[in-house]
Amino acid sequence: MPERFPCGLIVCSLDDRKLSFANDYVASMLGFSSEEMIGQALEMFLSKASLIFMDSYVYPTLLESGDHNELQLTLIAKDGDRVPVLANIRANDQGFMHWALFSAIERDKMYQELIETRDQLQRQTQKLKRLAATDPLTGMLNRRASQERLIELYDQSRRAPSPLTLLLIDIDHFKQVNDRFGHSEGDRVLVEVALAINSTLRSVDLGARWGGEEFLIVLYATDTQGAIESSRRIHSALEQIRIEQHKVSVSIGVAKIDLNLKEANQAIDQAISAADTALYRAKAMGRNRTEVQIVSASAFQTGTRLKAVEGEVKKGA
């Protein structure tokens, strides 16, 4: 009677996993005779991956609940061919597993296509996300993406807790570069400055093109003193950049982000305007330098200068 069913049937001991029954359907599916299969261990007919899956997931589930349905496995035929199958399994109190096996060649193809489609969609999504987050000229984060990332950094720093500082960097006399040497030269300078700034950052930091010739840097787990060190590195990283014989320089405004505020946006806005004030002061004091603005817990004290760092280079073009 079992021979008439168009599906594979196997009975197998739970203990030693040897087959005590295999119908002709499953035998011919695998190129054996049913006599050849009986007495063999189940492992012999499973791909190695299927074996791991059996041992780490299916078998424990069977021991616990007694059944397993719609399990996709790969069987290995006598000639080494791989046969995808779908299995329903029952374990009983007498120590046997009863398997019903259905050929799943077409289903397997469909699943493979689904997986590939899903992977492709994931890759495309990642690519689009990256594109949407990046400034096309410099490859740095754009303003919108950096705002989102900054909120994450803020929450992370609050949890840790660890200090977070913010730098606004503006290329000195950039308008003149564009006016005198043209926009393509201006673009080249932007790219080189972006590369130089990026070379000073760690993977945990954030670097973004904030606007025209302005960059935003957020230094993770870094206090004001560390940020001053970082701006020194930025000033010196720019030393090799030239426009004809003229050196390129930047002015930098530094502010520590207040982690005592619950609202990330509020703390960020506050730190950005503080850094902007410091940047403005750096410009007013002759450019090519770093100024620090101290932000107090609630309102920021204007004009409190902690330390000024002079760059070594002369004014740019």
Partner: protein, 273 residues
Amino acid sequence: MMTADTANPVLVRNNVSVIGGGSRTLVFGHGFGCDQTMWRFLTPYFDEDTRLVLYDYTGCGGSDVSQFDGERYADLNGYALDLIELCDALNLESVCFVGHSVSATIGLLAAIKRPDLFSSLVFVCPSPCFLNIPPEYEGGFDRADLEELINLMDKNHVGWANYLAPVVMGETNGEGMVTELTQSFCSTDPTFLKPFALATFFSDHRADFERCPVPSLILQSSTDALASQQVGEYIHANTPHSQLALIDAIGHCLHMTHPEQVADEIHRFQSKL
């Protein structure tokens, strides 16, 4: 069974359960593809003055999956951190840790990082590395086998009830049904199972076993397709202060199929420490 103090976020995250009291503590770490319910065959073999601590790794079983952080759980150290954090949350020290399969490695990594927490380790069907690394080491599997495993998991996830449950039942049915389905035995959301599989099957922790800071017992199944006898002997030879106990059995889940022998071996090991 009492559920531990729900106020501590770590205990909630890892669905920690504490059974019994007493001065001795055993902590049980489940293997890949499963959760703490797999220990229910073994736990009755320990008397009431032994405190038993069970948990689910983040992303598995009844853990709080919202705490799953892809970066943290990209390798086994993230899972070891779960174990360390829950021991700290329960103020445990000098426990005996019993880890099945990949949990043996996870327990070892935790012990290397925090030797104060552990007095001994019991490895149930351990493997430091599932990959074959010719010529010196045979983990049992080629890279292609393990890549097929990931593919097979994907294919089964496409069909798995817990993946489709929320879709099939719709939002209107309330969360009850879905929760019941997804919390059935050893159910694990594919989103979290796959990173665990990658961390488990593609890592090589052989060198860590040489650094094992406490005495250990290796419980080896005589016929285990996932962790062969040869692998058990390799660990024994390369782990200081280790003992090897061979249990005549077929399969990779000794604690489920041969719980009495596993309990006897653990008792004997503990009494000689």
